[in-house]
């Protein structure tokens, strides 16, 4: 070892120095890499869990006022949400001009078909006009009512915790009127279905 210290060959000394340094660097490297992996794993893991909920304390609507609210169907007939007060009610706020909204509608269509007999009722309140919604329904029929109300849909959605009035926004209301979930963005099918199954009345 001392021979090596005295070695006048600069390149050999440098090599020894590099070899002595590398374990420390390798440990740092490995630690950072594991952290990175953890970060990525967290990301991937998140995509399998339901999207985040909005703050439920921002909800400015009580059970009574959910059920006394009424929105017109595309033919203009008022549909009171109260007719579904004994159902597990999924209110989906959407619009024909909202790409992500239309993307997730087949999921609601499937859920409605699958759990109708167990007391599920999906309702699609549209921040849109009746003509757009009627045309949409013709090209892509769904198994649940679509209720267009261009002026009141966003306002109602905001009262259900959607501060910025963004779409899609989905709310789950237990029979009796308790809001158990209010969330923005496309739902995660598996996560959402699990919540539905846990709360079905029948």
């Amino acid at each position: 070892m001392t021979d090596e210290n005295d070695n006048p060959n600069a390149s050999a000394a440098e090599e020894r120095h590099a070899n002595a340094m590398s374990p420390t660097l390798m440990v740092v490297c490995a630690a950072v890499f594991m952290l990175t992996l953890a970060g990525v794993a967290l990301l991937i893991g998140r995509s399998d869990t339901p999207p985040p909920e909005l703050d439920k304390t921002a909800i400015d609507v009580n059970a009574g006022s959910i059920y006394t609210s009424s929105f017109p169907d595309p033919q203009g007939r008022p549909q009171s949400l109260g007719q579904w007060q004994h159902k597990l009610l999924v209110i989906n706020f959407w619009a024909t001009w909202c790409g992500p909204c239309k993307e997730e509608m087949p999921i609601f269509d499937e859920l409605q078909k699958k759990y109708a007999a167990n007391g599920l009722q999906v309702v699609g309140i549209a921040a849109d006009n009746a003509l757009n919604v009627a045309n949409f329904e013709k090209s892509l029929p769904v198994s649940y009512p679509l209720l267009p109300d261009e002026t009141r849909a966003i306002e109602f959605s905001k009262r259900l915790g959607n501060r910025l009035g963004l779409l899609p926004h989905t709310v789950i209301v237990r029979p009796g009127g308790e809001v158990i979930r209010t969330q923005l963005g496309i739902i995660n099918e598996a996560g959402f279905e699990a919540i539905i199954r846990q709360n079905l009345p029948k």
Binding site: L25, W97, I154, L166, L184, I186
Partner: protein, 212 residues
């Protein structure tokens, strides 16, 4: 060689650190709804007269947000000028099996708006002098964020001085539900034509008040 090795190890560490922080930043953007920008910040616009016959609108779109080409709409409140069809550049096209062709803009978009000034309607301007004419433009647009949410249609109201080349920002930004805030605006009383005021939206709040 050894120097290169050391440098590359350090670089590797740096890259991995950067990647790690990026991964966490992306994570936050994906899951945190409160991180979403207000429509006002996500979609910004300025306007100027490009020449005597053309309004130029420059939209700046925040990173991670996009606007729909088909959702732009432009209207004048005053009769001092008439708009012709807006010239919108080609966007990036996404062909959707179910919903057809969707054209969108990212980062920035320049819209040209041919305008014809009608001298006969000079009385509707905010200034008595013809060369101080303003037109009040309502620019309606609509966009979404990549995280999978869309903003309701928004209206930027711009007061454009026909005789000037100066760039102006919106004098008012109107979200649909905020339309009533503009009643009583004395600075530009003609800014909001009656047609632009949202229909009375009392029904839901009335219901809520009636049923505490």
């Amino acid at each position: 060689m050894n120097v290169f090795f050391k440098v590359s190890v350090k670089l590797g560490v740096f890259v991995m650190l950067a990647f790690t922080s990026l991964a966490f930043a992306a994570d936050g953007a994906l899951v945190n709804a409160p991180e979403l920008l207000d429509a006002e910040s996500a979609f910004q616009v300025t306007a100027k007269m490009k020449d005597a016959k053309t309004i130029e609108l420059n939209y700046t779109i925040a990173d991670g947000y996009y606007m729909y080409r088909k959702r732009f709409k432009f209207e004048l409140d005053s009769g001092a000028a008439v708009l012709k069809r807006a010239i919108l550049p080609k966007g990036s096209v996404k062909q959707d099996a179910t919903f057809g062709r969707v054209e969108t803009y990212r980062r920035a978009v320049r819209v040209l708006l041919p305008v014809t000034v009608s001298r006969a309607a000079g009385g509707k301007t905010t200034s008595a002098s013809a060369d101080r004419e303003f037109i009040n433009l309502n620019a309606v647009s609509q966009g979404c964020a990549d995280v999978g949410v869309c903003y309701p249609p928004l209206t930027h109201q711009l007061a454009i001085h026909l005789g000037s080349r100066e760039t102006v920002g919106p004098v008012k930004f109107v979200r649909p539900e905020a339309a009533t805030d503009l009643i009583g605006n004395t600075l530009l009383p003609k800014l909001l034509a009656p047609a632009r005021i949202a229909k009375p939206t009392g029904s839901v709040s009335d219901l809520i008040r009636k049923n505490p």
